[in-house]
């Protein structure tokens, strides 16, 4: 038994009381789960905390996993749900300071002109963050799972318990929103051409 063992084997070993099997599961999926969460919440510290929470949740619930769906779907579901919950909490906090946020938003768009002139100097990851931040939680999750994780709409729909058509629409609208954000920041003219 090692990190490359099948999920079924590792899960069976864990259910039989082998704690090491869980460590193998963590090592096998930690990078994918962390990167998924990182793209969702856009902050390393938050992603670190949520990744730990996800695996702790997995540890406590793995005995109840019946294998009806793929294990990685089950794990992604936990990760996406935790990320969406985190974003919802964060949004509520931001709403409380709405005036402060509006002022910041104004400044950020105001400084967009300077930003567009120095796009090459500006870290692209920061632009990416700003663009993703404009997305609602579910659209963000669908976009990341579809674009970065290359999951099919069927898999995404199973993770989020939504229809396949809905996932397709979410992905398209997410791209449109991000595109309009980039357009607003004049990214297309300076970066893409």
């Amino acid at each position: 038994m090692n990190i490359n063992s099948d999920d079924e084997l590792l899960i069976a070993a864990f259910k039989a009381g082998n704690e090491n099997a869980f460590n193998f599961i963590v090592r096998k999926y930690q990078k994918r789960i962390y990167m998924l969460i990182r793209k969702m919440v856009l902050d390393h510290d938050d992603a670190d905390d949520i990744t730990q929470d996800v695996f702790i949740k997995l540890y406590r619930s793995l005995n109840n996993f019946r294998g009806d769906s793929k294990f990685f779907t089950y794990l992604y579901k936990i990760a996406v749900n935790y990320s969406i919950n985190h974003l919802n909490r964060k949004n509520k906090l931001n709403k409380r300071n709405s005036e402060f946020d509006e002022t910041n938003e104004f400044h950020s768009y105001d400084s967009a002109n300077d930003f567009s002139e120095n796009t090459d100097e500006k870290d692209r990851s920061e632009i990416l963050k700003e663009a993703i931040e404009t997305l609602p939680e579910q659209q963000r999750a669908v976009f990341i799972m579809r674009y970065y994780e290359n999951l099919s709409y069927e898999e995404i729909s199973r993770i989020l318990d939504k229809s396949v058509g809905g996932m397709k629409a979410n992905y398209f609208h997410a791209l449109k929103k991000i595109g309009s954000c980039l357009k607003k920041n004049k990214i297309f003219e300076n970066v893409l051409h």
Partner: protein, 296 residues
């Protein structure tokens, strides 16, 4: 603007643009329909261009990697957060079978039982010491003095007739003698101090009960006293004197202190002393014997 394909709505075709760009459409009919619409419909083409630019931007922009060793430390930190839960199932021992209440009650009862056992045992192993400390002669005397003059008169009557249990009970005298032998020099000193206090109190008693003594002595026939001398000495006092010589020495030493204090205790004591000297030698001896035995 018309939809080129009758099988797919415009909205379906538009939502398929990202997959068309990435070449991820497996349905050839859908792929052809999208391609045709891009070539013939300008608005659709604009949508296609915008999405293509957006996706191109993402291919150039990447998320930063986490710090070095992050993925080496992550399992350790996860285990650290999980581990506190593990001992609950593995190492909770016998107590895991008990409800939470018993986890508190059982240790508490154990402590109480052990404490009670030691206290009980301590009382049993040193009863004389506890008796001498708890019910000291001073307290006993105080109790007797507080009980009133009538009881005192009765006691004295009983004493002279030999029916006073406290004086004639050999058990009590034995306990007292044992206590004297077991106590060290310090406790002897404290006993002497106690007897000093007792003697002070007794002197007061003698003063206050002076009239009763006198009345009794005067009212009763002297011959009766003389006749009873032998009886008292032969019967009741025989038990009282049934003690070790060493204790007797100690007792006499203490009484000497008492007598000297009695004699040096003020004007009333001088009167008492004078009265004592007026008595016949046999009476004096008898009173002294009585004082010796009662440790007054």
């Amino acid at each position: 603007m018309e939809n080129k394909s009758k099988d797919y709505s415009r909205e379906d075709l538009m939502q398929s643009i990202p997959d068309f760009i990435n070449g991820e459409i497996s349905d050839i009919g859908l792929s052809n329909a999208v391609r045709n619409l891009i070539e013939t419909d300008n608005d659709f083409k604009n949508e296609y261009d915008e999405i293509n630019k957006t996706l191109s931007f993402f291919t150039k922009a990447e998320f930063p990697e986490p710090p070095d060793n992050f993925f080496n430390n992550l399992p350790v930190r996860i285990n650290e957060r999980i581990k506190p839960n593990i001992p609950l199932t593995e190492n909770s021992g016998v107590f895991q079978y008990f409800p939470k209440v018993w986890k508190i009650i059982i240790p508490a009862l154990t402590v109480i039982l052990i404490a009670a056992f030691f206290l009980f045992r301590q009382e049993n192993t040193d009863p004389v010491l506890t008796k001498s400390e708890n019910t000291s002669p001073v307290q006993e005397r105080n109790n007797s003095t507080n009980s009133g003059s009538e009881n005192q008169i009765e006691k004295k009557d009983n004493f002279f007739t030999g029916s006073d249990k406290s004086l004639t009970d050999p058990g009590i005298t034995e306990k007292e003698t044992n206590s004297n032998t077991e106590l060290n020099q310090k406790t002897k000193n404290t006993n002497i101090r106690k007897h000093e206090v007792i003697s002070d109190q007794k002197s007061n008693n003698l003063i206050s009960d002076n009239t009763t003594f006198e009345n009794e002595n005067k009212s009763e026939d002297v011959s009766v006293y003389e006749n009873n001398d032998t009886d008292i000495a032969g019967t009741d006092f025989a038990d009282i004197f049934d003690i070790d010589e060493s204790n007797e020495i100690e007792d006499t030493g203490e009484i000497e202190i008492e007598e000297s204090e009695l004699l040096n205790s003020g004007e009333s004591d001088v009167n008492l002393q004078n009265e004592f000297r007026e008595l016949s030698p046999s009476d004096q001896q008898e009173i002294l014997n009585v004082l010796k035995e009662t440790k007054i």
